[in-house]
């Protein structure tokens, strides 16, 4: 496959898939080297950047997704009401930000920070596909560990978790973590 063919194939796949599509999947299907796909994608991104195009190719982690441009949002919303987009509640946002920064994290650690039971919100975030169980902690009771998903990046328009801004009191936080490590163990029991 030459670069033109790869570019065309990638564009078709992204269009029909709708959701973020993994680079790995594209690679498996097209059976071409990663470099070629990267080149095709970069070329597509450049094409879409043109002012007269209404689509943008966005990168989230290792996956790519076609979306309509934000400047056309008002026209699309008068065409139809995108009902899948209900914004998250304050409580959900609070919980999600804790998970995003401190992943992998257990429910008990989340509740320790929030000072309130969070099972319901954690489940709701899981149902929405923004977080997932990433493993189990090797502690009594083997509590589940939670982390953010690919859809989380897509939802907030982040290329990767590295794009999260540094916490303002990062130093303070690290010393805090050491302070209540012992406490958490007690709570798990």
């Amino acid at each position: 496959m030459n670069i033109t063919e790869v570019k065309s194939a990638v564009e078709s796949m992204l269009f029909i898939w709708g959701d973020p599509l993994d680079l790995k999947d594209i690679e498996d299907i097209l059976q071409v080297e990663r470099v070629k796909i990267d080149e095709a994608i970069n070329s597509l991104i450049l094409d879409y950047e043109s002012e007269d195009r209404g689509i943008i190719l966005k990168k989230f982690g290792d996956s790519y997704q076609l979306k309509t441009k934000d400047k056309n949002y008002q026209y699309i919303s008068s065409l139809y009401k995108p009902n899948t987009h209900r914004s998250l509640s304050d409580a959900a946002m609070e919980t999600l930000s804790i998970i995003a920064y401190k992943q992998p994290i257990t429910k008990i650690e989340i509740e320790h920070i929030r000072g309130i039971k969070s099972s319901y919100i954690i489940n709701a975030l899981k149902d929405r596909g923004l977080i997932e169980v990433t493993g189990k902690m090797d502690k009594p009771g083997n509590p589940l560990l939670y982390g953010t998903t690919k859809d989380f990046l897509s939802y907030f328009g982040l290329k990767s978790l590295d794009e999260l801004p540094k916490l303002p009191y990062d130093e303070d936080l690290r010393s805090l973590e050491k302070d209540h490590e012992g406490e958490d163990e007690d709570e798990i029991e």
């Binding site: 920070i113 897509s154 801004p165 936080l173």
Partner: protein, 239 residues
């Protein structure tokens, strides 16, 4: 009315506490515990007045505040600043505040990104269903009849034959019977281990019935269950 809405928005005890600290323009590292405790409790009272759910976490925080308040009333014998009874609460408040602030930023990102719309993936799934329909168009009702007949033949079932019979047996051991067994054992011995009782007839029905009997007898106060240590033998004693 606006006040009620405000109350509703508290995401937990830390949130409420922060609201009070901000409202009173208090320095977080030097919280006047006595005042804050009083205001916190007034807020809880108001919340219950408006029939808002006060979860146990809010009450826990109230008792933590009172505990800190009483500790601060006691004379301190140490000059070490780390012994400030407020320290742990302040640390947790700061950590909470950190994520509360960050979550505001998340909201901005969300709002920005919501203006970029993806194409819903459902259309692909619809396409699959469409393919299935084509598949069904090529068969008719007799194909269905044939296929069910061959399936029944393979499983050696004929339509119209009597349905298979199942025997439902009575439980061999009833709870009443088992209570009698336990009582009889305890007449001769002062105590008996659970395992020894199970050895009488090691089957599922018996074990379940014995279990229920023990619960029943404990409730009636006719026996007592003892265990010296975790995972050790469990003994029954008659009362």
């Amino acid at each position: 009315m606006e006040y009620i809405v405000n109350l509703n928005k508290f995401q937990g005890p830390f949130d409420l506490l922060f609201h009070l600290i901000e409202e009173n323009e208090i320095e977080i590292y030097d919280i006047p515990i006595s005042e804050i405790t009083e205001q916190y409790i007034i807020h809880l009272d108001r919340m219950s007045e408006y029939r808002l759910d006060i979860t146990s976490e809010f009450i826990l925080m109230a008792s933590t505040l009172i505990e800190i308040k009483s500790k601060m009333l006691l004379p301190s014998f140490s000059d070490n600043e780390e012994d400030d009874p407020r320290q742990d609460l302040v640390n947790r408040l700061i950590e909470y505040k950190l994520f509360k602030d960050v979550s505001e930023e998340f909201k901005d990102w969300e709002e920005e990104e919501l203006k970029f719309l993806p194409k819903p993936k459902e259309e692909v799934e619809y396409d699959f269903k469409f393919n299935e329909q084509i598949l069904f168009e090529e068969i008719n009702v007799y194909d269905l009849l044939n296929s069910i007949n061959s399936l029944l033949k393979r499983r050696k079932i004929e339509i119209g034959r009597e349905p298979p019979k199942f025997n439902i047996r009575y439980d061999e051991y009833s709870v009443t019977k088992c209570i009698k067994i336990i009582k009889n054992i305890l007449k001769d011995k002062s105590k008996v281990s659970l395992m020894d009782i199970f050895k009488i007839d090691f089957n599922k029905g018996f074990i379940i019935a014995i279990f229920l009997s023990i619960l029943e007898m404990t409730r009636d106060n006719t026996i007592k269950i003892i265990q010296d240590n975790l995972f050790e033998e469990i003994y029954l004693i008659s009362k």
